[in-house]
């Protein structure tokens, strides 16, 4: 699975995710990627999110929208909301994976509870951050 989130000069956010699914999948199985609110979500008021991991858990926990809701209804920061959902709620459910998130102010979060995640980020004119392992 691959994904991107961004905020532009107008302060508008967007999210995009694409995947080939699971190796050897059957029955037209679909994971969280195309399910708005589970694997992909964007809202100028809160954040834009793209997820990756074991899709079934991300759908059952409605992960992307869950992070946005904690910001919108509970006033969590992006970091707090991501910690709550990826490091606690998803782990408690047994779901492995992570997400990338950005707010309209340009804050970025890249939480994941697996051993590694291919990720990169770049704000304004800062150096690009690229990482694979924890």
């Amino acid at each position: 699975t691959v994904g991107a989130v961004a905020v532009d000069v107008h302060g508008n956010v967007a999210a995009a995710t694409s995947t080939g699914g699971m190796t050897n999948k059957r029955y037209n199985r679909i994971g969280d990627t195309p399910v708005i609110g589970s694997g992909t979500y964007a809202n100028n008021l809160t954040c834009a999110i793209s997820c990756t991991g074991h899709g079934e858990y991300f759908m059952r926990a409605v992960v992307a929208y869950d992070v946005s809701c904690l910001m919108e209804y509970k006033g969590y920061t992006l970091q707090q909301a991501c910690e709550e959902v990826v490091m606690k709620k998803l782990v408690a459910l047994g779901g492995e994976g992570g997400l990338i998130a950005v707010t309209n102010a340009g804050e970025i979060a890249l939480p994941f509870n697996s051993e590694g995640m291919y990720r990169a980020s770049k704000t304004a004119d800062q150096k690009t951050f690229t990482a694979i392992y924890k």
Binding site: A4, V7, V9, T19, K122
Partner: protein, 175 residues
Amino acid sequence: MNKTAIAIHGGAGTITRSSLTSTQETAYKAALQEAIELGHKALTQGKSAVEAVALAVGSLEDCPLFNAGRGSVFTKEGKHEMDAAIMCGKTLKAGAVAGVRSIKNPILLARTIMEHSEHVMLSGYGAEEFALNHGIAFAPERYFFDTFRFEQWSQVRDSDTYQLDHSENHDKKFG
């Protein structure tokens, strides 16, 4: 003028230091770098966040190292079935496809659904018909063939196991 920012991912899993050679690691990092620079350049040119994420994901879809687009994994039938979604934080409009085959860049199809239909999600054959009607590029089966993906699939093909990308010891996964 708002501060711009972009982040991308290429999947998560049991990626351990021992599972990648330094050559592979360099290749992955180079692909991530290329994709994020593409998205970042669009943002610095004043393009929209939707345009930036579509460009970045499209770049990763074209790279066989990642499980999307050209690098998509094999299904039980030995095919490539892809899913994608895109959403605009300003309009809350969204586009998604599920279970499509032979589409070169599924994120482009998802974006076309968002911008040129009243729907949010289309799937399977119908989504491919929509793609045909809107001039979305298709690619032949061999475009999606990758030796590493084929070997990964061959290990589990005759079992009932299915496997997350970036998983190393799958027997730990699903019985």
